[in-house]
Symmetry: C2
Subunit: 156 residues, 2 copies
């Protein structure tokens, strides 16, 4: 069974994109990771309509990526804010990998808008792929993809 | 200038998604990384129409992520096939990070369809974020995001 014979329906990349692949969704996750939590702040900063934002926030909450907390500003009614869950924070390597690639290939000459630095030493961070066993940093040349236990044939 | 005041127009995550964020685009890159190179193979395996596929392939070639090579099967006319460039292969951490997250949260009980293993030892690989200076594996708790040189205010 070669990759061309394997159904992509349950491919994990495809499944991930099924959850976070909609336009704006990853940008809301980016903003939440940068401390944005409130509806109006998301709306103004990411630049989308109330209806689209409300829809994407619902999707993110029902996917378990955002959770809501109540807050109450003085003299105002109670509102909900949106925070990343552990599942949401687990997208951190996805965000950094996208940022690194954009910094390298798509940034303005002035440079990136955002730098993520290691608190302990102040140097920037990077997403890499490594072996879970020996920790070696690897790339496409010294890895290979094989079928996993969930691989099944494309239905005829 | 807090993150909420910074224009997201030139954010590197947003720029990356501007190139690879369209539906199907990352799935075509996934397939190319798994050895799929030909129009009809992409079409059947990823499951999209000729028109959409042709459009996405054009986008990927003009973005410098795919390049074309001619090939000629015996007794057939010359055709083009599509290969990842160095810029395209630099999305490897994005693909692995999406795969890891999907494996963890969205896979079927049977397990993942695909395992990427380190050739040298046969163990699976993972995307991690590390410090470019001391190599420490880091997460949101021991890093912080600060404005970079390209950060500018949202136009009034």
């Amino acid at each position: 069974m070669t990759w061309l014979d394997v159904s992509t329906e349950n491919c994990s990349i495809q499944r991930s994109l099924g959850v976070i692949g909609e336009k704006w969704t990853l940008l809301l996750i980016r903003d939440a990771a940068n401390g944005v939590h409130r509806f109006d702040d998301f709306r103004r900063h990411v630049g989308l309509s109330e209806a689209v934002l409300a829809d994407r926030l619902r999707t993110l909450v029902s996917a378990g990526i955002f959770e809501t907390r109540e807050y109450q500003a003085e003299g105002q009614r109670r509102r909900r804010e949106y925070r990343l869950t552990a599942k949401g924070w687990d997208l951190y390597p996805v965000l950094i990998a996208l940022m690194n690639w954009g910094d390298k290939y798509e940034a303005d000459p002035a440079g990136p808008t955002r730098i993520v630095e290691h608190l302990a030493c102040g140097h920037p961070v990077e997403a890499v792929v490594r072996c879970t066993h020996d920790g070696a940093v690897v790339g496409p040349r010294n890895t290979r993809a094989i079928n996993g236990p969930g691989a099944h044939l494309i239905p005829a």
